[in-house]
Symmetry: C2
Subunit: 255 residues, 2 copies
Amino acid sequence: MAAIELHYWPTIQGRGEFVRLLLEEAGAEYVDGARRKGGIAAMMRFLDGEQRGALPFAAPFVKVGDAVVSQTANILDFLAPRLGLVPDDETLRAEASQIGLTIADFVGEIHDTHHPIAGSLYYEDQKKEAKRRARAFVKERMPKYLGWLEDVLARNRKSEGRWLVGRDRTYVDLSAFQVVEGLRYAFPNAMARLERKIPRLVALHDRVAEQPRIAAYLKSERRLPFNQEGIFRRYPELDAPAPRRRSGRARKAGR
Amino acid sequence: MAAIELHYWPTIQGRGEFVRLLLEEAGAEYVDGARRKGGIAAMMRFLDGEQRGALPFAAPFVKVGDAVVSQTANILDFLAPRLGLVPDDETLRAEASQIGLTIADFVGEIHDTHHPIAGSLYYEDQKKEAKRRARAFVKERMPKYLGWLEDVLARNRKSEGRWLVGRDRTYVDLSAFQVVEGLRYAFPNAMARLERKIPRLVALHDRVAEQPRIAAYLKSERRLPFNQEGIFRRYPELDAPAPRRRSGRARKAGR
């Protein structure tokens, strides 16, 4: 397989992180293009249509030989069979893809909690709308998506609920890990409440974090920290209220 | 190929329409499940996890033999090779998929113009935010997506700019047709201004509409009309202002 060039913004995890996790878990040789000198200009030449191959609408995209492949879920679906991170069986591959796309929708909704009006406006200029959208997100959408992932795990008898598709780990397990990580960063209060209801997904998260290559990656400087420029942002005003804590007296009385 | 069951809401075009267009153009035998008696209940059994196979997060989904396949772009990518509506070449297939996914993102943004806060709220309860989001959509996003499709056509020398991918029509051409149709319905003023700048895409729309099977489908009762329950809705307050018309005097003077 030809060398893989990843093109994505160099200072955020963002959507590119789903691709990085796959490449890292596969032990693939790849270049994270935009982190190199001149890399952003090189990426822009693709986005501006000055390179051959398919025209990406946005980053991330990868170049593998002559192929230019964009859209996160499509990149993952393109690379995973070549890197052994999805079964060859086409029904299972389509199942992985539908999970990957549902996670992509989830990620889009997570983004829109802080940008409900326009990506071109600052958060501060849509904060009021963001609070309203985030309230509905935390109450309705976040439990729905997380509960669906939990159900998918529960139904997957082939792996005894350990992995989302088939018998072994696939790229969508890595993506589910990333969503749990991101939600813990962005919505710590809401996640603290919800995690009791999604034990399989939390266990999946931990299982992914313990994979040797992922563990090494997470400790490396290649893993960027979450920050307020990415998809997952920590705005306390968008999170659920902090969980109520029992008073010292109630706790002492064991109530 | 096993018979295809499509499951989708029976009274709207919605996301299901992208699948219907593919099935119609292919001349495939399919059942539009939810339009039959008891069909919605049958669909709900899949969504409620009472059926075997992959668990869909939402409709549309298709059942083909034992496979249950959801997420519109994934359904199209799964069916198109079986129905001759995408090239076998895997780079071209990935290119079609990235266009399909970008159209899916576009459709999501179109939906969110009337539901920027929550799908669970009525339009009337988020009308103020909808106006603000739609203003940014019409000014920034709609020209960006349509211009990108125009660029993709211009770059496709294999078809001399007639089709989006490869030499012949593929499922993404049908999807692009549907987006143009929908935008003409939902944003007639904004589209009237933009169409001058996207001649290839308008020609593609017309070319798709003239395909004999599509033309027959569009005239049939299987093609539902656009309405205010679907993704494309006509709320004049969300559209651009009507184009300025020259006064009678100015017209007479030929200015």
